[in-house]
């Protein structure tokens, strides 16, 4: 079936695949349907944040650091305040709670980032003052007149340089420029089986290094917000945010206001792709409206969007595979470095997501990963489509080709041989279900005219999985490398309920303590055993595979194992009920 775009790419519905598992009564799929928001879009009437006109609108622009890393000796706004059209100049002193981390709303990570920096900047373009003026041009001119005395500090722009002893400390609160996971480790661990033993027994060991650059989301509409005083002692905020309630919660925290005093209007976003979740514009625009009593717009121009807008972070991956002569991968080891830039934003979470994805869609009995969220003096990184997954998938799939070359196998065959089958145990100790890689690979081979071995051509995701392949490794090698003391370990979060300033043991305290409600102190909890060995019980009987050995040969057809939990597939009614 062709899609509805006459000259567009071909879309094919392969209804022969999984036909027996699907109710083929689709009423909408495959037929054109007008989107509900289409009339607004084609008439130009969809209300983006900047499409709300206010009389007396003021414009806010930030004065920014020209240095990658510097201490702020003094900020002098007097010249800026005298510039034509200037109504007010804000600095960090004006921000009620001038330290936040985005995921604090989920109690995940220490507050690390000021809205307007007062004592130090850690990336080029970091805002130190905000000028509010009658016109955008006046705000721009006055922002350039803000005088800052800088003490330039050494900077670090590479993840592996940043974690070497003696590297400049990007954030004083995280030891050695590494985020702390689970209150215990300076990296996120995955331990499944015994990778070192399996590598020693493998016929080949294949190593690779993969590097991804930061990617700017580059939405057509730049990030921005307009805030204005509203009736009933509230402030209305029109925003480009992709995460309205997230931005509302962040603004309420940073401005120390009950969220009931904030009226957020959004939902019409001129492209986001993850770049509009950082909730930077809303608090500053609202603060401006609070302090001037007038509507205030804070929007990035294109250059700011590109320079200080948080991109998809760069990632560096080292992958080591143990592979047998017949192509079965018996061990896979990762060391990953996410470049978080100067602040945490969402990189810490991206790694949790990424590690849950390892080792890719392949049944490998021994998997090991150490993944670091590293602070550098680059622009902070944040969300972008599939973040946490996209980078490492590039590394994994590039590495699969390298492995195929090493053992002299067609890369499609290598993927089918190692692919998850339904019922296989995955490295994060869940059973694989609704697998479809084998079928996808078979279609790719067919389309590309690649001949594959008959047994792989007839392989199926729903067959040959489970059984011994559902078993957890007989033994998982664990370690306490990267153990960090002094952080609370009750959850992903690092915070405890106390209210002292942070005192991580491996780093000096911040030179200037936070002025406002400071982040909670990491409580000292007794060390706990790494959680990674816990895992579930093996779901069904079956022999344990020998540690380090290849995955057992696929089993005869068998019902996929069920888990008691509500499954996404059930919710979506997609397949496998």
């Amino acid at each position: 079936m062709r899609d509805m775009t006459a000259d567009g790419p071909m879309v094919e519905f392969r209804k022969d695949l999984f036909a027996d598992e699907r109710d083929d009564n689709l009423n909408e799929i495959g037929k054109p349907t007008r989107r509900q928001d289409a009339p607004g879009h084609v008439t130009g009437r969809s209300p983006f944040f900047d499409d709300h006109l206010f009389d007396g609108l003021l414009h806010l622009r930030c004065a920014r650091s020209p240095h990658h890393h510097a201490r702020i000796r003094r900020i002098d706004t007097s010249a800026a305040e005298r510039m034509p059209g200037v109504v007010r100049v804000l600095t960090g002193r004006d921000v009620p709670v001038n330290l936040n981390t985005l995921l604090s709303l989920l109690d995940f990570g220490l507050d690390d980032e000021p809205l307007l920096s007062e004592s130090k900047v850690a990336y080029m373009g970091e805002p130190v003052a905000a000028v509010i003026a009658e016109t955008e041009a006046e705000a721009r001119a006055a922002a350039a007149a803000v005088q800052v005395e800088w003490e330039v500090l050494p900077h670090v722009l590479d993840v592996e340089e940043a974690i070497k002893p003696g590297a400049p400390a990007v954030l004083d609160i995280y030891p050695n420029n590494k985020f702390v996971y689970h209150g215990k480790y300076d990296h996120q661990k995955l331990r499944y089986g015994d990778v070192d033993q399996a590598l020693a027994q493998a016929d080949h060991v294949v190593e690779g290094r993969y590097q991804m650059s930061p990617i700017e989301q580059a939405p057509m509409e730049t990030c921005g917000a307009i805030a204005a005083p509203e009736q009933n002692d509230r402030y209305v905020c029109y925003t480009s945010t992709q995460a309205l309630f997230f931005s509302l919660g962040t603004a309420a925290k940073v401005l120390s206001l009950p969220s009931s005093r904030l009226h957020f209007v959004g939902g019409t976003v001129g492209g986001g792709f993850g770049g509009k979740v950082d909730s930077i514009h809303e608090p500053l625009a609202i603060l401006g409206a609070m302090l001037t009593g007038r509507p205030v717009k804070y929007a990035w121009d294109r250059a700011e969007e590109m320079q200080v807008g948080a991109p998809r972070g760069a990632e560096r991956w080292y992958v080591t595979d143990g592979v047998m002569n017949d192509g079965r991968i018996v061990a896979r080891k990762f060391t990953g470095y996410f470049d978080s830039g100067a602040y945490t934003r969402l990189s810490s979470y991206a790694i949790i997501k990424g590690v849950g994805h390892l080792p890719g869609p392949y049944t490998i009995p021994n998997v090991y990963a150490d993944v670091y969220c590293v602070y550098t003096n680059r622009s902070p990184a944040t969300a972008m489509r599939g973040f946490g997954i996209t980078g490492v998938d590039f590394a994994i799939e590039a590495h699969m080709d390298k492995v195929a070359e090493t053992v002299g196998m067609n890369p499609i065959e290598l993927r089918i041989l190692n692919a998850y089958r339904d019922g296989d145990m995955k490295a994060h100790r869940r059973l694989a279900k609704n697998c479809a890689l084998i079928e996808c690979a078979q279609v790719v081979a067919e389309k590309a005219g690649v001949t594959i071995a008959p047994e792989l051509k007839s392989a199926a995701s729903a067959r040959d999985g489970g059984g011994p392949r559902a078993a957890l490794p007989a033994q998982t090698a664990t370690d306490t490398e990267g153990r960090v003391e002094g952080f609370a370990a009750t959850s992903y979060a690092n915070k405890s309920a106390t209210s002292d300033a942070p005192q991580p043991p491996h780093a000096p305290p911040p030179a200037t303590p936070a002025r406002h409600p400071p982040p909670a102190t990491p409580a000292r909890h007794p060390p706990q055993a790494p959680a990674m060995t816990s895992g579930q019980r093996p779901p069904e009987g079956g022999s344990m595979p020998p540690s380090g050995g290849p995955p057992p040969a696929p089993q005869p057809p068998k019902k996929p194992a069920r888990s008691g939990a509500m499954r996404f597939s059930s919710l979506s009614g997609f397949r496998r009920r």
Partner: protein
């Protein structure tokens, strides 16, 4: 600051408004005239979200000095419908999923309309050339090209 009166037509209707010194046409249309269909994307002449026509020729309104349109005819996406009847391009953009976030859409439509007015039966390459100054970031070029071609080939619903 001295403002300059500017008299022009907008989508066929005579209009007058005051332009600020150095104000660009995009800002002028949006804030002083109240036509919000042209969008700000870059202010650099790169993205085409602010595309309007001046005397029938497409221009980047962010790079046009507002007071320079004195006596000229401006066209925007707001002028595409005929009363309550949408332009066939607008219908085709809806039918072909040619607008995802909608931000590039008004500028894209103005470029497409200018193309079809000058060349009612363009080739695919001519369509691509005509929208080469309009960026879309939601990966929508194929549906957009298909929508424009559908109108050109008389396949769109009227």
């Amino acid at each position: 600051m001295a403002k300059t009166p500017v008299n022009f037509t907008l989508n066929g209707s005579p209009r007058s408004a005051f332009a600020g010194p150095g104000q660009n046409l995009l800002d002028f249309l949006r804030r002083e005239v109240g036509d919000l269909t042209p969008k700000f994307g870059c202010g650099q002449g790169t993205c085409g979200a602010c595309t309007v026509t001046i005397d029938g020729a497409t221009h980047l309104s962010c790079l046009v000095l507002a007071e320079s349109v004195e006596g000229r005819a401006i066209g925007t996406a707001a002028g595409l419908p005929d009363g309550a009847t949408l332009d066939p391009l607008q219908e085709a953009f809806m039918d072909h999923f040619a607008a995802q976030c909608g931000y590039c859409t008004p500028g894209m439509l103005v470029s497409a309309r200018a193309l079809l007015d000058a060349n009612p039966r363009p080739s695919r390459d001519e369509v691509i050339e005509a929208i080469s100054g309009n960026l879309c970031r939601c990966t929508g070029y194929e549906p957009i090209i298909a929508a424009i071609l559908a109108v050109a080939e008389g396949r769109a619903r009227a």
